[in-house]
C-alpha cells in the first residue's frame, strides 16, 4: 500500500475517531478523574482521595436503589422473554395481516419513552385512570398502581415490558427463522407434539437469542430512569428509586459530580458481574 492510500485511510476513519474521542474516551477519562474529586461544577475541583467510596459504602439509599432495580429486573426480564417469545411464535406463523402486526408490536419501541410514560401515567392514575375506571365498571376495587409502595415497581415493570417487547419480538423472530424447517418435519414424522417441538427444538436452538435478549434486557433494565423519573419521582417511600435515578439526582439535583461518577463506575461493575454470571448459567452449546 502506498503512503497516499494510507493517508486516505486515516482521513476516512477520522470522523469515527473524533466522535469516539469526544463522546466516549474523554467523558470516560474525565469520569475516572472525577471519582477522586468533589466537584459541584461551580467551585474548583477538590481532590478527596477515596472519600467518595467511603460515602458510597455508607450510602444506604444507593443500595436500596440497587435492590429496587433488581426487583424491577426480576419481574421485567422473565415477563419480557415469555411475552416476546409468545408473540414471536405467533408472528412466525402464516397468519393474516402478519406484516401489519409485526409493525404494530414494534411501534412502542420507536415512540419516545417520555411520551409513552406520560401516556401510562394517565392509564395508571388512581382516581381517573383508564384501568381503574374499567375495574370500577366491572365491580372491582381501584388498585393504587403508582401510589402503593408494593405495587408501584411491578407496575413500572409491566409498562417497560410493553414498551420494549417489540424489539425482543424482532430478535426472537430472526432466531426462529434461522431454525431449519427440516428439523420440524423430521419431528412431525416421528410423531412429536407441538409442545415437544417447542421445548426440544425451538427453545434449545434459540439459546443464542435468549442469551442476547437476557443480556440486552439486563443492561437496558439497569438503565431504568425515564419511567420512575416521570411517573413517581422515585416514590412512594423510595420504592421506585432506581440506581440510575439516584445517580442522576446526585449529579444534577445536588451537583455532586464526583460522587455521581463514583456511583456510576461502581454500578457499571455490578452490571458487568451480573452479565458474566448470566452468561455462565444461560449460555449453552447449540448443535
Amino acid at each position: 500500500m502506498s503512503r497516499v492510500e494510507s493517508k486516505a485511510g486515516y482521513f476516512m476513519v477520522m470522523p469515527y475517531f473524533v466522535y469516539f474521542a469526544a463522546f466516549v474516551a474523554y467523558p470516560l477519562f474525565f469520569s475516572f478523574i472525577l471519582i477522586f474529586h468533589r466537584w459541584n461544577i461551580v467551585t474548583p475541583m477538590e481532590f478527596i482521595g477515596l472519600k467518595n467510596f467511603v460515602r458510597l459504602f455508607r450510602d444506604e439509599l444507593f443500595f436500596k436503589a440497587i435492590i429496587n432495580t433488581l426487583i424491577f429486573l426480576s419481574i421485567h426480564i422473565p415477563l419480557q422473554i415469555v411475552i416476546a417469545l409468545f408473540f414471536a411464535n405467533l408472528l412466525n406463523k402464516q397468519i393474516k395481516f402478519r406484516a401489519f402486526f409485526r409493525a404494530l408490536y414494534f411501534l412502542p419501541v420507536v415512540v419516545s419513552g417520555v411520551v409513552i410514560t406520560i401516556l401510562w401515567q394517565q392509564i395508571y392514575a388512581y382516581e381517573t385512570g383508564l384501568i381503574n375506571q374499567m375495574l370500577l365498571g366491572l365491580g372491582f376495587k381501584k388498585i393504587p398502581w403508582l401510589v402503593s409502595p408494593e405495587i408501584a415497581m411491578p407496575s413500572i415493570a409491566v409498562m417497560a415490558t410493553w414498551k420494549n417487547v417489540g424489539f425482543y419480538i424482532v430478535l426472537f423472530l430472526a432466531g426462529l427463522q434461522s431454525i431449519p424447517n427440516e428439523l420440524y418435519e423430521v419431528a412431525e414424522i416421528d410423531g412429536a407434539s407441538n409442545f415437544q417441538k417447542f421445548f426440544r427444538i425451538t427453545l434449545p436452538l434459540l439459546n443464542p437469542t435468549v442469551v442476547l435478549v437476557v443480556v440486552l434486557s439486563t443492561i437496558g433494565g439497569f438503565s431504568l430512569f425515564i419511567e420512575p423519573y416521570i411517573l413517581t419521582g422515585g416514590g412512594p417511600l423510595d420504592s421506585t428509586l432506581s440506581a440510575m435515578l439516584y445517580i442522576y439526582n446526585q449529579a444534577f439535583y445536588f451537583n455532586h459530580m464526583g460522587y455521581a461518577a463514583t456511583l456510576g463506575f461502581f454500578f457499571a461493575m455490578v452490571i458487568l458481574i451480573i452479565v458474566i454470571i448470566q452468561r455462565k448459567f444461560i449460555e449453552r452449546e447449540v448443535y
Binding site: R38, N40, V54, R55, R58, L61, G233, P236, L237, Y259
Partner: protein, 424 residues
Amino acid sequence: MKSFLFLFILFFVFGCSNDQKNAFNQANKKLTYWCAPNPEEIELAKILVDKWNRLHPEIQVEVQALPAGQSSEEVLLAAIAGGTTPDVCSNIWPGAIAEYIKAGGLVALDEFEDFDSLISARKIPVDLLESFRSKDGHFYQLPWKTNPVMLLYNVKIFEKAGIERAPRTYSEFFEACEKIKELGIFPGYTDIRPIWWQRFFDFYPFYIASSGGRTFFKGDDLDIDYEIAVKVFDFFRTCFKMKYFPITNFQVDPFLSEKIAMRFTGPWTITYLEGNKPSGFEYDFAPIPVPDDYQGKVYTYGDPKNIAIFSTTRYKREAWEFVKFLVSEYSDSLLLEICNQLPIRGDLLENKKFADYFNRNLKMKIFAEQAPFTRGVDEVVEMKEVFDAISREFEACAVYGAKSPDEAVKNLIKRTKVIIEWSK
C-alpha cells in the same frame, strides 16, 4: 387629529425609553440588579431603580428579573460558574450562601465602614442578625425580607366546630381537629410530596417552634435536638394516622374550597386569598402550635431572602450605596405596599413610616409581630440534601407510618452525618 395623538404618544413612550437607555449608556458607572422573578417584586424593583437612576445619573442601574431556571439558587450558581453574575441580587436564600462563598462569588459587606450603622438603623434583633453571619465571621448577605410561616385557619369553620381560639399546643390542635372532623371536613393539610423545600412548611417551622428557635447545626456540626425532632415527627404522624390530614393532593385550592380548615403558610398568601376568596369567607393567622410543655416565645421559619453584592462587580462602593438604597425606609415601605412582604427590621411596628400600612393591613401585623422571632437555615453547603433526607423520613414516618418517629430521627441523623462528613 387621532393619528397625530397616536404619533405623539408613540414619540412620548419611545422617546422616554430611549432617554432612559441613553442615560444608562452614557453613565460612567453601570450596575446590574437581579430581583426575584415574581410580578410584584419586578414592579417594586422597577420603581426603586427608576427613582435611583433619577437621583444618581452617574451610577445607572439596570434591573433584570432572575433568569428562568429550576430555582434561583441554581441560576445563581450557574451564573457564578459562567462569570455572568449581576452586581447586586436581592433574592439570596441563606441556605445556598455557603456555596456562593466557597466559589468566591460574594463581597463581604461588613468591610464597608457604614455596615454597622446601617444595621443599627434597621434595629435588627441581635440573635436574628447573628444567624446570618458566615463561619469566617463576615456578613456576605444583608438581611432584607422575611415571610414567617404561620398557621392559617378558616374562621367560619372554627366557629361552626365550636373552637374558640386558634390551637396553641399540640393537644389543642388535635382537639380542634377532632371537632372539625365531625363536620366532614379535613382539619388540616400539608403537601405530602417528598420535595426538599416542602418541609419549610411543616417539619422545619414546627421543629424551630418546638425547640425555641433552634436550627439543625452549630457551625459545621450536626446539632439536631433528638427529642424535639421525635415530637415533631410524632405530631405529623398522628395528623395523618388520625386522618386529620389527607394523604392526597387537590386539583383546586382545598383551603378556599373549604375542604380543609387549616394549613401552614406565609404572608404572601394574603394577596392570593384576598383576590380569590368567595364572599363571606373569613380567615386568620396564628403562631405554629408547640408541645404542651413548651414555655416561652414561639419561633418559626422566617423564609428570609437577603441582598448580596457579587465579587464580579467593578463598582463595589457604588453597589453598596445602591444596596443601602434598597433597604431604606422608603424602599421598605414599598416592599410592604407592593409585595406584602416584611422587611427584616426591628422597628416594623414602632416606625411611624409603616404605621399606616399596618393599620390598613391588620393581618400583616400578626406576621410583623412574629418577624423578630424567626429563624432561617444554617449556612451548610449540603443543606439541600439534608432537607431531602428530612423529606424522605417525613414521608416514611408521618405520611405512610412505615417508620416510628424514633427510627425516622435516627435514620435522619445517620444519613445527615454521612452527607456532612463527606462534604467536609
